[in-house]
Symmetry: C2
Subunit: 222 residues, 2 copies
Amino acid sequence: MAMGWQEVRDEALRRIRARDWPPGARIPDEAALAGELGCTRVTVNRALRDLAEAGLLERRRRGGTRVPLTPVRRATLSIPIIRQDIAERGQEPGYRLLSDRLEPGGAEARAALGDGPLRHVLALHTADGAPYCLEDRWLTPAVAEGVDFAEVSANEWLVGHVTYAEAHLSFGALTADTALAEALDCPPGAALLLLERSTRAETPITWVRLIYAPGHRVDAGL
Amino acid sequence: MAMGWQEVRDEALRRIRARDWPPGARIPDEAALAGELGCTRVTVNRALRDLAEAGLLERRRRGGTRVPLTPVRRATLSIPIIRQDIAERGQEPGYRLLSDRLEPGGAEARAALGDGPLRHVLALHTADGAPYCLEDRWLTPAVAEGVDFAEVSANEWLVGHVTYAEAHLSFGALTADTALAEALDCPPGAALLLLERSTRAETPITWVRLIYAPGHRVDAGL
DNA sequence: AAGTGGTCTAGACCACCTT
DNA sequence: AGGTGGTCTAGACCACTTT
């Protein structure tokens, strides 16, 4: 009967699904479950914490552990470097810098990065020579000073040099105007997937719009 | 000098950022760090596991812990009930069932759910009376047998009754055809955000395409 | 005030994988 | 074959927050 934490997690999951522990109900405390399942409280804690991180349980000190009435599931989304992403699809990644200038920036860029001149980098990622993704990026000028984004994509340089910053992501859809259509080699009016991301550590770092060629999908698990 | 696991995590993070532990390098093993930082190996383990889950370290038995050369960050995505999502925006949620039929299903639906007749539910979610999201869902017939989706949306019923299944998500963009344009009250040709989700527990449950009205954003954190 | 989860210690054994 | 991370135990103290 002694169980490892994953077994405890699976058993708890079974009880939730089977409505032994119905939505809204409080479940037995860790000590009770540890006794029942023949393991220590630490093991139960690890299992229930895991479920809570996935949004399947709500835990509070003194308040106990409950099955949420309206669970908000959490999915995980992997954010690889674009070049790596293309390579994993078995295609040959390519990259071309389109422009790199200091500009005042629009309202959105300033909202994310603050006022003052911003570095605006426009670049195209290709897969087997075909347009894959347009990278429309704004940077706080101090961040990658002197870095030549003709050599390395800003995407890749940043992932390598600005580790563990906080990021906010947003998905949307966009209609290709003539400029986008030309850049991505697609018909004007095509529906394009847009992934917007703003990144900051202690100070704002970058705000980027990734605009993918038609048909592109971004996957998430769980 | 004794540190809790979050302090150990922050210190490790600092070393990664400062390149004391440069990309590709192997870091000291848990026992060494525990000694250096004045805590037990379990505490170090907890801290490093946390960083590894975020994609900032790679850990292997016997192989030790390394700073990845090309880190793949992981973001979390909250998936609320549509009605709740609308309410949180301060709008009045509405819902209308458009159709509910048994159909053979297309290739994608069959790939997700298996062959045989499938229940096809088409419904519209509204916010303050305006179209918000079209729910185009296929169900394994056994799942919600006898449930009237005119009363409750399939989205909501499923979250309440088939909780805690595994899911796979995929984002894409879609051009509004005439039928979609009419349903969502938008111009034909508009770019629409598409969120596809397939859900299964022990057996397949449902495959759904959520097609959002123009301009909609889906946010993710971290 | 007291119950519950959060975390730490010290020691141990095991599983996996690289060398 | 041996080193490294993965996990468990038993006991303890602490932090939070509800009663």
